[in-house]
């Protein structure tokens, strides 16, 4: 196990910058998820930590010791790749034995270690089968077993669940979280799936275009996004975002006024802003004249399982809300309803997307 520190890590390919001077400290035993859209530099950062890429500049430290010059094989990191991780010509047992043999362990030690992961990962049924004959889930579980069998300092996971069916992925997420906390190994997991990140991470490192946007617990990122990108990227369905003008008594969306009892603290003076509010804070139980309540025409509705979504426009800008009360009558397309925006859950951003902080 080890703590990891990145100091001003930069990676350039020719003229394009993949990672732009990242600073990050990861605690011993922590489960950190690098989250971001494709091309944000998360995988490149991971590969630098693994030793598969040489950073253009900046330092990588394990337990305070610089490891930049160390080859991947000397860093004692383990990695699980997105697609093909296992050696296709070896059985699962031989795959798991390979890193142990490479390190010159005795046959008795190897047998003991293999027995251990076989039990931890419940792999006994697949040990003597070839990877290609296994379903993707068991394959990645075996790859994970091979990764942790030699007690790595750091476990690196490069979208290990993305090749697995949605159905089984949920199960694998639980498994992964359980295993990580049981083994206590410092883990960095790369994904573009925010649900995966939210469910697994102790802390999320949200990345965009080679920069770190925000670092924090899943809850902190969800509740308090630092900018519009973070607000939009995390949460499903995505946060509603709209142009508003601060006016006396409320917010103007085009020609409609959204009355607010008192202006929320960040808003002191009139001006153009971006309003962000999550769909679960937009309800159909508004009362005329109350703060945050406004009449709107329901334009569309759909349901996913027990969740009812409805859509409406204010000043030409679309919003999505979620019905919380299960027994309520369903929204009817084409009727006008009193919508309630939860004033306490409104977030405000400047027109160029930065969070507005109370003065």
């Amino acid at each position: 196990m080890a703590s990891i520190k990145l100091n001003n890590l930069t990676m350039r390919y020719g003229n394009s910058t993949a990672v732009n001077g990242i600073n990050l400290a990861i605690d011993d035993g922590e489960f950190v998820v690098f989250l971001g859209p494709s091309g944000c530099g998360k995988t490149t950062t991971l590969r630098c930590i693994a030793g598969l890429e040489n950073p253009t500049s900046g330092d990588i430290l394990f337990d305070g010791v610089k490891v930049n010059h160390l080859h991947a094989s000397a860093r004692n990191v383990a990695m699980v790749f997105q697609f093909i991780s296992l050696y296709p010509h070896k059985t699962v047992r031989k795959n798991i034995a390979f890193p142990l043999r490479a390190r010159g362990l005795s046959e008795a030690q190897i047998v003991e270690k293999i027995k251990w992961v076989e039990d931890v990962f419940s792999l006994s049924e697949v040990m003597d089968r070839y990877p290609n004959s296994l379903p993707p889930g068991s394959r990645q579980l075996a790859a994970l077993a091979r990764a942790v069998v030699r007690d790595p300092k750091v476990l690196l996971l490069d979208e290990p669940l993305s090749a697995i069916d949605e159905q089984f992925r949920e199960e694998m997420r639980w498994e992964l979280k359980h295993l990580q906390s049981r083994l206590g190994v410092t883990t960095i997991h790369v994904t573009h799936d925010q649900r995966e990140a939210m469910s697994l991470a102790d802390r999320i490192v949200l990345m965009h275009s080679g920069d770190v946007v925000q670092i924090g617990t899943p809850q902190a990122l969800f509740n308090d996004p630092i900018n519009e990108f973070a607000a939009h990227f995390i949460g499903s369905p995505a946060m509603n975002l709209a142009d508003v003008q601060v006016a006396s008594g409320g917010l103007m969306l085009g020609s409609s006024l959204l009355p607010l009892g008192s202006l929320p603290t960040p808003l002191s003076e009139p001006g153009n802003l971006r309003l962000g509010i999550r769909p679960n804070h937009v309800q159909r139980d508004g009362k005329a004249g109350e703060p945050g309540c406004v009449l709107a025409l329901i334009e569309d509705r759909y349901a996913i399982g027990r969740e009812e979504y409805f859509q409406f426009s204010l000043g030409g800008q679309k919003f999505v809300g979620i019905d919380k009360e299960k027994n309520r009558q369903l929204a009817e397309v084409g009727t006008s309803e009193m919508i309630r925006f939860d004033c306490a859950e409104m977030r405000f951003f400047t027109p160029d997307g930065i969070k507005v902080v109370a003065p």
Partner: protein, 298 residues
């Protein structure tokens, strides 16, 4: 527009029309010669003699050939040549391919240069190496003297001549192994190589445990093709040694050529050709079995 005849054909006939030319060529160039070969191999036939005097002699050509100690000597010599030349080609070819698999400046040019010998006409290669191995003014002896060695009679003594031809054959055909092995090595997914890196595998362990087993199917195909080709090697012996001294460096296929077009024992030569065909087919079938076994695993 008037409909041409092709529009009125059924699909089956339509396909047949397209296959017909290829089929005709195949029958003319393969089936007919093969059947006549089988037929001639049962006759005491020579193309220099009128057909009236030839008789059916059953399998006599075969029994005579297979009981002749000379033919067995030729088989042993051929086997020795095949093992030596293919062994060198596979080892050297795989080693060079291993270094050519990674990208470096000038790799493509180097690769092209390595491929050149394969493009030459075999008989030209034969004469080229015959000059190189000339005992009086050849390059080989010149270089040997430069490093303080003794002049050697390369082509006049059979124990040297086999090496001379092995070197020439390996020079010409190692590129083929390089070509296939490079392709095989490069087809291994990068993730696998990186996984091995991270697992802490040394270059040797990685080569023998990962690279080699994963490229085995393609390397085996290279081996099979090289074995068949080396077994049939004729041109180099023709150009370099003429089968001599005596007939000590004559391979089976060289002997076949001599029987057929030197002595014009057409019947006997046909029988020998059938024997060679059986051997090569047998060899190929073993490999194909093995290849199928590999590809079905996992």
């Amino acid at each position: 527009m008037k409909k041409t005849i092709f529009y009125r054909l059924s699909d089956k006939t339509y396909c047949g029309v397209f296959i017909l030319p290829a089929l005709a060529v195949l029958v003319l160039m393969v089936a007919y010669p093969f059947i006549s070969l089988l037929y001639y191999s049962t006759l005491n036939f020579s193309i220099l003699r009128p057909m009236q005097e030839t008789q059916h002699i059953g399998l006599q050509n075969y029994t005579e050939l297979l009981t002749s100690p000379d033919l067995w000597d030729r088989f042993i010599f051929t086997g020795k040549f095949v093992v030596m030349t293919v062994g060198i080609q596979m080892l050297v070819g795989t080693a060079i391919a291993y270094f050519l698999q990674r990208d470096f400046r000038g790799r493509d040019i180097l690769f092209t240069i390595f491929m050149l010998p394969m493009m030459l006409c075999p008989i030209v290669v034969g004469f080229l190496w015959r000059y190189i191995f000339n005992s009086e003014w050849g390059m080989a002896n010149y270089l040997l003297k430069l490093i303080g060695g003794e002049k050697m009679d390369w082509l006049g003594r059979s124990e040297n001549a086999i090496w001379a031809v092995v070197i020439a054959d390996a020079w010409m055909w190692t590129p083929f192994v390089i070509l296939l092995a490079t392709a095989a090595f490069r087809s291994i997914p990068n993730d696998i190589n990186e996984a091995a890196d991270i697992d802490g595998a040394s270059p040797a362990l990685r080569f023998f445990q990962i690279t080699l087993p994963l490229s085995a199917p393609i390397l085996l195909i290279a081996l099979l093709l090289r074995l068949i080709d080396a077994f049939k090697q004729n041109d180099l012996f023709f150009a370099m040694t003429g089968g001599g001294p005596g007939s000590e460096t004559a391979t089976v296929s060289f002997m076949l050529g001599k029987l057929a077009f030197g002595h014009f024992y057409t019947g006997e030569a046909s029988a020998l050709a059938v024997i060679l065909l059986l051997i090569i087919t047998g060899l190929s079938m073993i490999f194909v079995r093995y290849l199928l076994g590999i590809s079905q695993k996992g």
